[in-house]
């Protein structure tokens, strides 16, 4: 019956592509096109330049997802990128990669990408050729610049998003040659932070933080784990700073000050729920307490005015809380205060950022945990990307001043409030050009769309911080079905048609020209240096030393008080960047759409966060659809009650409500910007997102949220326990006492003591832990994992990494609503203590839950056909092709980590999105169970590679599952627990080690967790 068809389909999807590519891939290096000098690609891991079918080739490049510019390793198979990972040698990301970084791969193969240049004809687009398109653009530019042209003439305006330094320079040269204007716009801007740095220290780049070095970390609403300037780097810093040292029993303290707990906030040890917009006042109040009378240098007067009492008044918290925090901030040195950054773009945002800088300064953190680059320009951002600039551009466009508008890498028609008038102004421009890979709201308005290449197909460079440079190289031939061209190439081609020589024929050439000098820096010849740069994925050179900068007085008057908000609503609206979509530029990735939001655990659609007390007062429950009304607009959105938000505020994330961004983004959620006015903050020019109050009224209708959250209460079960820091030494003794001699049931009946093996004797009895019947007979490795909950930040990068590695399908909003999400790993989030009404302890537990690979797995014996069983290596294996689909195993899994293919979900994956599929992992059929396999394909790959080297055993660290690889917090360690020197064995020896539910149901999992460490007493669990 349908079986034959099914498996054949799957077979074609994976294998046949392999076969075709197996041939073309090998030959592909012979042909190269203009810029992609593919024959010069240099593999990093495999020294062989030839592509071997069936063997992965790795390339280094730079993630183009956001301005953080993390280093990337890209795994290609048969000339096709199948997985992106963090480059461990890159100083910014150090091997980690966030969810959005992983999801960039979906943009590469996005089915909504343009198949060629699109030329508007009336209401619709016609696909044209590149020659035609470039000719058209050149002609229109010439026509527009003709002074005689009064109908559709005007200057050339280039509206750009984030781009690397060389591209930025090229754009500048291109625009300059045409006497045009360039405006930069990013959906999420760091302008207030940048402006504050400029005011305070004369620095032209964002401050750099050494979060890992801090002992006391304060975040003034800054969501550095999920958004912020460099999420992977900062997340790693947080985990290093706050993770307990198991020897000294010390850990850093993290205090979050803000009206709403973002995922960053959920990691805090204490929460001071200050009133929205009061960050500046609180920071000054603390600084004032630290600096004392007359302290604070040029800001002494200001500090005088902001006593802790005034700050407490503004923030709606007790004055003792602020004084106490200030005292600790000064004494627990080095400390660090962050923010508020994009967490609070209100009308006094620059002042608030400045206040935090003053606080750091008076506490003596400048030069230790926070660094300002005062020497060079540095940073990737060229022009100011705030709202003020684009507002001027809008005015110019509206006045008919602009003849040709070129948009590149940004989507202002979506990411600006409707009130900005951008859309209308842009529509008035006689000729609009968009460099875009796939359709978005701005491209939809354009007259000409030039399909840009994905960063994995193009050349580029990055300079994420002074002294660090990395080349972005194409890792594969451009996806053949999309006739795309890198924007740099197109600009050069158009320039030459216009008769302007920018010094290079292709962007590759231009890029090399830009970096001629670094050969001199490293002292070798250029080609070798270039090759080396590509091989390592990063070039580090000594940055010019910046002297510790001195605080400077402001030239302009700033207001540090909480801002005035629009409207007379009783609730303050917090609009924040989405942890999944950023400002909306990632909304068309189904992986990210289906990634549960790290805070709310909701997928796909938008939700309004509201405190449960507020909801109770108004008779609003989770799932009720409410109308949110501001003076600038109104939206209908379902409510999610969240104790991590102040009672006088509601929050809405950006990134939803797209109208022209393709099949996965359109119609999903609402655009929070619709509620906002178009106001630029002064002096930075950033768009004000904390601008208005709203009223919330219940519509009386409701919906089931597409959430994966069942209950956020542990119900006193031994799931995610914690241990108080003060008890750490004692816990070990207790554990020993409690466990005593572990007994195990013999196959022949009766109990015998578990034999103690080499390793960590006397500690938690893991070495002898039951391992099915294989207990001691099997010689090989026994795979196990350790997850340190004190490190895990809940960022969810592992979830997307796993999805990318293991061909885990997405199921869509309706299916998630039904409870059928397919992720093999989920981050459970349990509230232990969250109280928005007072400052104090905060206890939220994140628990990455994946298959526990139990030694006594309850799922195994119930399977009637041995489709799941225990391998001699300690893995609970799932044999998809043997599965009949009784779902008994899932019922009997106490961890609920088994997911079922209710439909042939992979059928819904369109070409060429399925090119991303990992050829080493079976694509699962309708009606089979699946789950985490400990990345069995990676285990086998490591074994195969080890076997080729004279049959040596697999070394520790050779098998790195996708989740571990991706984890920015370094919370996950995998390895052979029989090897006493393996990292996992070392980690598991910790006294904090426990196994979820094990003491209750004796499942003997192979996944070991290390308890979270709290400062306060852990009361709720008896365990």
């Amino acid at each position: 019956m349908s079986r034959d068809l099914a498996e054949r389909d799957d077979g074609i999807k994976r294998r046949d592509f392999l076969r075709v590519v197996g041939v073309t891939g090998a030959g592909a290096t012979l042909t190269g096109c203009s810029t992609s000098e593919v024959e010069k690609l240099l593999p990093y891991v495999v020294a062989d330049e030839e592509i071997t079918p069936g063997v992965a080739t790795w390339y280094t490049t730079v993630c183009g997802g956001c301005a953080a510019e993390c280093g990337m390793w890209v795994r290609t198979r048969e000339g096709r990128a199948v997985k992106v990972e963090g480059n461990p040698d890159h100083p910014v990301s150090e091997g980690g990669l966030c969810s959005r970084g992983h999801a960039t791969l979906q943009h590469l193969y996005h089915p909504d990408r343009f198949h060629g240049p699109m030329i508007r004809e009336g209401e619709v687009f016609r696909q044209g050729t590149w020659d035609e398109a470039e000719q058209l653009l050149a002609a229109r530019i010439t026509r527009a610049r003709n002074p005689q042209n009064t109908t559709d003439g005007g200057r050339v305006m280039f509206i750009g998003g984030h781009m690397g330094p060389s591209m930025s320079r090229l754009v500048d040269e291109f625009v300059a040659a045409l006497e045009g204007t360039r405006v930069d716009h990013d959906a999420i801007s760091d302008a207030p932070l940048l402006e504050a740095a400029r005011i305070a220290y004369g620095s032209n780049s964002l401050p750099r933080y050494d979060i890992g070095a801090a002992r006391l970390l304060l975040s003034f609403g800054y969501d550095f784990v999920e958004s912020g300037a460099s999420p992977v780097e900062h997340g790693k810093g947080l985990s290093r700073m706050s993770a307990v040292n198991d020897e000294t029993h010390t850990k850093g303290t993290f205090v979050f000050l803000g009206p709403r707990l973002s995922v960053t906030g959920l990691n805090a040890d204490e929460w001071v729920p200050i009133r929205p917009g009061s960050e500046g006042a609180v920071a000054l109040g603390m600084a004032s307490a630290i600096a004392g009378p007359g302290g604070g240098g040029p800001y002494a007067n200001l500090l005088q005015a902001y006593s802790p009492a005034i700050a407490a008044e503004a923030a709606d918290v007790g004055v003792e809380a602020i004084e106490e925090l200030a005292r600790r901030f000064a004494s627990e040195s080095p400390s660090l205060a962050l923010g508020p950054g994009s967490g609070a773009h209100h009308r006094n945002a620059t002042a608030a950022n400045l206040a935090v800088m003053i606080l750091n300064d008076v506490a003596g953190n400048v030069g230790t945990t926070v660094h300002y680059d005062t020497a060079g320009a540095g940073g990737a951002a060229g022009a100011s990307n705030g709202y003020a600039a684009i507002d001027q551009a809008t005015t110019a466009m509206a006045s008919g001043d602009v003849g040709v508008a070129i948009v590149h890498g940004t989507n202002p028609a979506y990411s600006l409030p409707a009130a900005s008038g951008f859309r209308e102004a842009f529509e008035q421009v006689p000729f609009k050009v968009a460099f875009a890979s796939a359709m978005d709201e701005t491209s939809a308005l354009a007259d000409l769309i030039l399909p840009d290449r994905h960063f994995l197909e193009s050349w580029g460079d990055s300079a994420p911080r002074p002294g660090v440079m990395a080349i972005q190289q194409p890792v594969m031939e451009a996806v053949p079905m999309f006739d795309s061209k890198q924007a740099g190439d197109a600009l050069l081609a158009v320039s030459s048609r216009l008769g302007n020589d920018l010094g290079a024929a292709t962007f590759y050439e231009y890029l090399q020209t830009q970096h001629r000098d670094f050969a001199g820096t490293t002292g070798s010849d250029f080609d070798e240096a270039w090759r080396q740069a590509l091989r390592n994925g990063v070039v580090e050179f000594a940055a010019p030393a910046s002297p510790t900068p001195q605080l400077r007085a402001p030239q302009t008057a700033l207001t540090f008080n909480p801002p005035v908000l629009d409207g007379s609503g009783d609730l303050t609206l917090l609009v924040h960047p989405s942890a999944r979509f950023g400002g909306g530029e990632f909304s068309n990735s189904p992986w990210l759409q289906e990634l549960p939001d790290p805070v709310s655990k909701i997928t796909w659609h938008s939700w309004l966060e509201m405190n449960p007390h507020t909801g109770e007062e108004r008779g609003i429950r989770t799932g009720d659809i409410v109308t949110v009304e501001s003076p600038h607009g109104s939206l209908d959105v379902p409510v999610w009650l969240y104790p991590g938000i102040r009672e006088d505020a509601v929050a809405l994330a950006m990134g939803g409500g797209h109208t022209a961004m393709g099949r996965y983004a359109d119609g999903s959620g609402v655009n929070a910007l619709d509620l906002l006015p178009a106001v630029a903050e002064q002096p930075s020019g950033a768009l004000v997102t904390l601008a208005t109050t709203v009223t919330v009224t219940n519509t009386g209708t409701g919906r089931r949220l597409a959430t994966i959250e069942g209950s956020s209460d542990q119900h006193d079960r031994p799931i995610a326990p914690a241990v108080q820091l003060a008890l750490l030494g004692e816990a070990a003794e207790e554990a020993e006492e409690e466990h005593g001699e572990l007994m195990e049931l013999q196959g022949v009946g009766g109990f015998v003591p578990v034999p103690a093996e080499g390793g960590a004797p006397g500690a938690f009895p893991l070495e002898g832990a039951r391992h099915g019947e294989y207990a001691d007979a099997h010689e090989g490795p026994r795979w196990a994992m350790a997850i340190d909950l004190d490190k895990c930040t809940g960022c969810s990068a592992c979830v997307t990494a796993c999805q990318a590695e293991n061909n885990v399908p997405w199921v869509g909003e309706d299916q998630v609503v039904m409870g059928r999400d397919m992720n093999w790993i989920r981050i459970e989030r349990y509230y232990e203590h969250v109280d928005a009404t007072q400052a104090g302890d905060l206890d939220v537990r994140f628990l990455p839950m994946l298959c526990q690979h139990c030694g006594n797995a309850p799922c195994e014996p119930v399977c009637p056909v041995f489709a799941t069983y225990h391998t001699p290596e300690g893995v609970n294996a799932q044999i998809y092709n043997r599965c009949v689909g009784t779902r008994y195993c899932a019922n009997n899994c106490p961890y609920k980590v088994r997911v079922f293919n209710w439909y042939r979900y992979t059928d819904a994956v369109p070409e060429p999105l399925n090119w991303q599929w990992n050829p080493d992992v079976t694509v699962r059929d309708n009606g089979v169970m699946e789950k985490c396999s400990f990345c069995m394909q990676r285990i086998r790959d490591a074994e195969n590679r080890a076997a080729l080297e004279e049959g040596r055993p697999v070394r520790d660290g050779e098998v790195v599952p996708a989740c571990e690889q991706s984890c920015p917090a370094e919370a996950i360690v995998f390895g052979n627990i029989r090897d006493p020197n393996a990292r996992v064995t070392q980690v598991v020896a910790s006294e904090r080690t426990y196994r979820v539910l094990d003491e209750l149901i004796n499942t003997q999992p192979a996944v070991n967790y290390l308890k979270k460490v709290t400062f306060h007493e852990v009361v709720s669990e008896a365990h």
Binding site: G747, V748, R770, G772, E773, Y774, N856, E860, H870, Q1004
Partner: protein, 172 residues
């Protein structure tokens, strides 16, 4: 084998039937009786002992037990797969299979035994038969020749049958 005349008497009453059987058996006839329901008086009159069906049941049942034990153990050992940390050969769950196969084999062999012993299915039943036997009548059947036939007829007639049929029969 032998050919002869079969004679079949139909009775309305149980006691007449029993009397006829007793009479015929006293006279040394091989008697076959028909009844609409199993009646132990008739069986008693015919001198029945224990039915050998029970042997079939016992043998069948024990075969089932042994088969199940051997089969479950052999399949476990043939390709040992560890599930849930349980021993490869785990007798307690196999007891259930053993029980079920005991019952199954026992039941099936009982039926086979019944069929063999009472020569069922018999799609060509004897010609001399009164359809009223399945309704309310009792029947007595003897085969005899010559003078013996007359004896039989007389004994049968003594009990006032409703009907008496005769016919030539040939035994296979």
């Amino acid at each position: 084998m032998s050919a002869g005349t079969g004679i079949l008497a139909s009775y309305e009453y149980l006691d007449s039937t029993v009397d006829a059987i007793t009479g015929l058996r006293k006279a040394g006839f091989e008697v076959k009786a028909y009844a609409p329901y199993p009646d132990h008086h008739i069986e008693h009159a015919l001198g029945y002992d224990q039915s050998p069906v029970r042997v079939w049941t016992l043998v069948g049942g024990l075969t089932g037990t042994a088969t199940a034990l051997a089969f479950t153990v052999w399949t476990s050992v043939d390709w040992p797969i560890v599930v849930g940390g349980k021993p490869i050969v785990s007798i307690p769950p196999y007891v259930i299979i053993m029980f079920e196969l005991t019952v199954l084999f026992g039941a099936l062999s009982t039926i086979i035994g019944l069929f063999v012993l009472s020569r069922l299915p018999n799609l060509k039943p004897s010609v001399i038969y009164d359809p009223e036997f399945t309704a309310g009548r009792y029947g007595v059947y003897v085969e005899a020749d010559g003078a013996r036939l007359d004896d039989a007829r007389r004994i049968l007639n003594d009990q006032e049958p409703i009907e008496l049929r005769e016919g030539q029969v040939a035994h296979a």
